[in-house]
């Protein structure tokens, strides 16, 4: 089972929302569509489901063009953000509705529904109506309604966004398990990078009507295609600072505004001329343990997370950088500290925002 999206285009009136999206999803792959609101990710999911029609392009599932078919005939199932359970039907009727419409024999429906209910642990709830269920139970019924149809492709529209923090973590685990159980591909739309990173085999990062990058979570994190991906993935966000070439050599060495020189492992060859930007994850800007040496900075804000602390600090030229130190630090706002920058892990971005990274991982 593979899903092919070929140059899918969509505009709402004069507002373009998708600008020629091409993407291939492999069999049994879990894909996350990640991006900010309005980036077109939900629209693409709805085009695959058949709830929106593309202006141009094709959607091909397993060699069969499906964008011309009715939603119910596409072999896809969707879990809606607000679950969209039928309020006047019992849980059992909710699960059976699609199968009844597909004229599945009654006995088979009962077996499928009972199996799904057992797996999702909603069998005691089968005779209840949706408004007698908790949020998490409704979520599982919504997933069950998708499972019983044995689709080739699961579509999940922000499946966790309606749940409270504790339940979200539990459901995330459940989705990961679900993924092991079903013999189908899954696409999940989310704006939460933690969900995307933990669940997906590959992440498709959307912004501004286009796919910015398609890659594994680790690659997205370690080799972001451009400054948008670099800033959007990772929390707290990567520090991205203007920089200039310092000197020659096999690997690029750049100078920040305050004069700090960072020796990177990004090959000099292939880098564009002109304005550069240096990208540094918080874990690669560490506070000097002794508080002296390295790059001088003044602490702007400290976030203590327990196992580590996030330090927002200003360099001499006013640049705000985000770094880390251990959880037991006693530094406070206004302290002058020394930062040690791990140039080996630094990223460079060209004038057009394209990312350049160290060789290897």
């Amino acid at each position: 089972m593979t899903l092919d999206l070929k140059s899918v285009r969509k505009a709402f009136g004069a507002t373009p929302v998708l600008d020629g999206v091409t993407l291939t999803i492999q069999s049994r792959e879990f894909i996350a569509f990640l991006g900010p609101s309005g980036s077109g990710k939900s629209t693409l999911l709805r085009i695959i489901a058949g709830l929106e029609t593309a202006d141009a392009g094709e959607v091909v599932l397993d060699g069969r063009r499906i964008d011309t078919l009715a939603p119910g005939d596409r072999g896809v199932a969707m879990v809606f953000q607000h679950y969209a359970l039928y309020p006047h039907m019992t849980v059992r009727e909710n699960l059976a509705f699609g199968l009844k419409n597909a004229r599945v024999p009654r006995k088979e429906i009962d077996t499928l529904v009972d199996d799904a209910a057992r797996v999702l642990e909603i069998d005691p709830l089968l005779e209840r109506k949706p408004d007698q269920l908790s949020g998490g139970q409704r979520q599982r019924v919504a997933i069950g309604r998708a499972i019983v149809k044995r689709p080739q492709l699961f579509l999940l529209d922000e499946p966790l966004s309606n749940l409270d923090a504790a339940l979200r973590l539990r459901t995330r685990v459940e989705l990961a398990r679900l993924r092991q159980r079903v013999d189908a591909s899954m696409i999940m739309v989310t704006h939460d990078q933690a969900e995307a990173m933990t669940l997906a085999d590959r992440i498709v990062v959307f912004n501004d009507r286009r796919i910015q990058q398609v890659a594994t979570p680790m690659e997205i994190y370690n080799r972001p295609a451009n400054t948008f991906v670099a800033r959007f993935v990772g929390s707290p966000a990567m520090t991205i600072a203007p920089a200039t070439f310092a000197n020659g050599g096999e690997y690029a060495s750049v100078r920040l505004g305050d004069g700090t020189v960072v020796q990177t492992r990004v090959p000099r060859e292939g880098l564009p001329e002109g304005a550069l930007q240096l990208g540094l994850r918080p874990e690669h800007i560490r506070l000097e343990p002794t508080g002296v040496g390295g790059t001088k900075a003044v602490v702007d804000l400290v976030e203590r997370l327990g196992e580590r602390s996030i330090v927002y600090a200003r360099l001499k030229d006013g640049l705000l950088v985000t770094g880390e130190t251990d959880g037991l630090t006693n530094i406070k706002v206004g302290d002058e500290v020394g930062l040690s920058i791990d140039g080996d892990r630094a990223h460079l971005f060209g004038p057009d925002g394209t990312g350049y990274h160290r060789e290897g991982a």
């Binding site: 119910g72 199932a77 006047h88 419409n101 109506k129 007698q132």
Partner: protein, 294 residues
């Protein structure tokens, strides 16, 4: 809360309570009181106990008027509900055309009963009416809608349906717009046909609206009066005399206020009983019927 604050609060509902008392509560009790008296429009009456009610029980004209009222209500409410729902389904969409047609179908509701009956007199008159012309064009004998005892109630029902369509249609439209779009999207992904979607998604969601429409219309049509009074004056030979027309004639034709009040009380009890029966029959809304949650 202090008692003085409660007193001030009363000021806000005061005007309404006053009106409610004067034009609803007082007449209700006054009517009940009057129904136990023999009383003319002018001059004092005297207490007669339940004599008026006993007379009503044996009055064939009153009984006929009740039968007419039930028949015409039965002829109006079911078709009215179905037509209003059909119109609402057809017009529940964006666009200039649908907006205009919603206005057109609602427009009859703003007309007074005088205008409505005037219009329908033109339509129904056998010699020059629009229906008569249509019948003649088809080569049939024009039907004397208003003078045939078998046709006069259907004619009255037709007029009333045309006049009353607006509000139920609007209620159904409001009900339809309460149904989240996701529900239909889920049904589409579940492969539901249009008919299945209508029967399993739309109709259950409109259950409460439908009950409301039927209850409101039943209570309203059991009090049907103006159309019958103006179109046929209850004729021919009482075939279209409704209960309210009967009590109007008793009170302001024969000046028997006590007798008319007794008839009014009987009608009141009937409407109350029918409405409560409908309410109980449809249940107070089972679990899971509390509407959609987001």
């Amino acid at each position: 809360m202090t008692s003085s604050r409660r007193w001030e609060g009363l000021l806000f509902v005061g005007p309404f309570l006053l009106l409610y008392g004067v034009i609803l509560v007082f007449p209700l009790f006054r009517g009940a009181w009057l129904s136990l008296h023999r009383v003319a429009l002018f001059g004092p009456g005297h207490f007669v106990g339940f004599e008026n009610y006993a007379r009503l029980a044996g009055d064939p004209i009153f009984q006929q008027s009740l039968i007419n009222t039930f028949l015409v209500t039965l002829m109006i409410v079911p078709p009215l509900t179905v037509i209003a729902l059909t119109l609402a389904l057809a017009l529940n969409r964006a666009g200039r055309g649908a907006t205009m047609l919603r206005g057109v179908f609602f427009s009859s509701a703003v007309l007074s009963v005088t205008i409505v009956t005037l219009i329908w007199r033109f339509v129904l008159a056998p010699d020059a009416g629009a229906l008569g012309e249509l019948w003649q064009a088809l080569g049939w004998e024009p039907l004397p809608f208003l003078s045939d005892p078998n046709l006069v109630l259907p004619a009255l029902a037709l007029t009333t349906i045309w006049w009353s369509l607006g509000l139920p249609m609007l209620l159904f439209l409001a009900g339809l717009q309460q149904i989240p779009r996701e529900m239909y999207e889920a049904a589409a992904l579940d492969g539901a046909s249009r008919w299945t979607t209508f029967v399993r998604i739309t109709l259950p969601a409109l259950r409460r609206t439908t009950i409301l429409v039927i209850m409101l219309q039943t209570a309203a049509q059991l009090q049907l009066f103006g159309q019958s009074q103006l179109l046929t004056a209850g004729g021919p030979s009482g075939a279209s005399r409704t209960a309210v027309l009967f009590l109007f004639e008793s009170a302001f034709g024969r000046w028997e206020l006590g007798y008319a009040s007794a008839a009014a009380e009987v009608l009141f009890m009937i409407i109350l009983a029918v409405t409560l029966a409908q309410y109980w029959a449809t249940g107070p809304g089972a679990e899971g019927e509390r509407g959609f949650r987001r």
